[in-house]
Amino acid sequence: MNKTVCLLPVIAALAAVFYGCSSASLASFDRAKDISVVSREDGSGTRIAFIGIFGIEAKSADGGRKDMSTKEAIIKKDTGVLMAAIAGNKYSIGYISLGALNDTIKAVQIEGASASAANIKNGSYPAARPFYIATKADASRLANDFISFILSLDGQAVVAKYYVDVDGSALAYSGGKASGKIVVGGSSSVSPVMEKLKEAYIKINPGATIEIQQSDSSSGLKGTIDGNFDIGMASREFKDSEKEKLIATLIAVDGIAIIVHKDNPVSSLTKEQVNAIYTGRISKWSCIHQ
């Protein structure tokens, strides 16, 4: 009996040593637990954006692209369900589009900046990517009119429904009402919001025909330089060679918030830590040093 009592502190000390990267635990949050990684289904735009921003993909020289997300990640079908899963599991982590944030879950800071539209606009929150359109200097009247619509209050109201809007002309669209046809091509991430902008624009200006072709940012910009597209769409910054030939206009910003359970003491992560969690290199909360 005595022996057992003596051994207890020893066992406790040993346990503490064996916990590797453990640190002080909150009573309600056991940092030694596995991180329950929650992701979205393959093909989801949020997933594609998340993976791109945090570099959770491997690219090969021949244009191949491999999603490096851990296969252990729990897959949820939509933002609402994912948020419910995070709210219901203390040890989980997930990501959602910035606009969906609410107080059932906690958004962590990334690189010290909290997830907000203001921080995205001033550039301090890194989990964001710009949506650009590109035009040549001699763009058609209709193309210019469509762009002025996108940047007007009306156009940015459409953008703000899905993404972070940008400071455009801050005026309502007055309407040049040019007719004819333009082709918009490029990034498949930008195309969904471009479709919405097109719908809104066609309502005001029924004489216009806008064709949207989705591929990727690079071919969108190249197609615009070559004259195949009147407007190119890109979800990345322009390269110097592209800047020389094209006028870049920022039309929207896509923000991704990394969310955890409210009881989770972790309040800030680096991009590298998020990458490590989602590629499965870090599997325990105790390995996240604050």
Binding site: G43, D67, A73
Partner: protein, 277 residues
């Protein structure tokens, strides 16, 4: 006049009957027309036996073996949990249940059968997942509960269909009540009980909503009872919303595989039915 009415109405009845067959034929046609080319493009071998499912990669990988295994694991789990309880319930209901209690249990079973799967999924999320996590075990428990009414109902009528003189004969030879039930009645009803199990399998393997909510949906080979898994149905329902081109066709091909599974199960059921007669 009456004869014209008769003729017209008989045509109406015939049309009604044909609509079922027509619907089935259209579904088959849709699945085969869309599924077969995708399978051919991906390669039937790498589709059915590929262990990696990453449709957004370049080049994409469409291997559904993890999902086939997932469906089988979860269904097997549901059978292990649901069938013993279901059969014992059926024995109790048909052979030793007091009438007053029967009035509670039977309608309860019927009500359980009518509970929408999304509600059972919510129940699983709120009650079972906090204990067992999003895992094969959680999904098996919920599916086990889901197939209980099917297994119980059909087993009960099979047991009731065994002539009373079997039981009386056994008891006359000195067998006790439960000995007579388990050694004589239940074996005599075995075809019906097996049919109940097969229908249970059919229900479990086809269940989608509840499974998506509690199984974790990881597209990799099952690793542990306490880890998640993705079923064929979940794979289709999860990704159909965003899928395009070959990815979409691959999902239809997944449905085709599931359809073949269900077909085999139903053929088994039909064969058993014949044996009972």
């Amino acid at each position: 006049m009456t004869s014209i009415k008769e003729k017209v109405m008989s045509r109406v009845f015939l049309l009604s009957a044909l609509s079922t067959v027509l619907a089935l034929a259209l579904i088959c046609l849709f699945l085969f027309i869309n599924g077969i080319p995708a399978m051919a493009k991906i390669g039937a071998f790498s589709f059915m036996l590929g262990k990696e499912w990453s449709p957004s990669d370049t080049p994409p990988l469409f291997g559904i073996l993890p999902m086939i295994a997932g469906s089988l694991y979860v269904t097997a789990g549901a059978i292990i949990i649901g069938v013993p309880i279901g059969i014992l319930t059926a024995v109790f209901l048909s052979k030793s249940c007091p009438k007053k209690l029967y009035k509670f249990i039977k309608p309860g079973m019927d009500l359980l059968a009518g509970i929408p799967s999304v509600v059972l999924g919510f129940f699983g999320m709120a009650v079972i997942v906090p204990v067992f996590g999003e895992s094969i075990l959680s999904a098996s428990i919920v599916l086990g509960i889901m197939i209980l009414p099917t297994v119980t109902g059909i087993s009960e009528s099979a047991i009731r269909a065994v002539p009373q003189n079997y039981y009386e004969g056994a008891v006359a030879l000195g067998a006790g009540h439960y000995r007579a039930v388990f050694k004589v009645i239940l074996p005599a009803a075995n075809s019906g009980v097996l049919a109940a199990v097969i229908l249970g399998v059919g229900r479990a393997i086809g269940e989608t909503m509840a499974v998506i909510m509690i199984a974790g949906n990881q597209a990799r080979m099952p690793v542990s009872l306490f880890k998640g898994v993705r079923t064929l149905t979940a794979n289709i329902a999860l990704e159909m919303g965003y899928a395009a081109e070959l990815h979409r066709e691959a999902l239809i091909a997944t449905a085709l595989v599931l359809f073949v599974f269900i077909l085999v199960i139903n053929l088994g059921f039909a064969a058993l039915k014949k044996r009972i007669k």
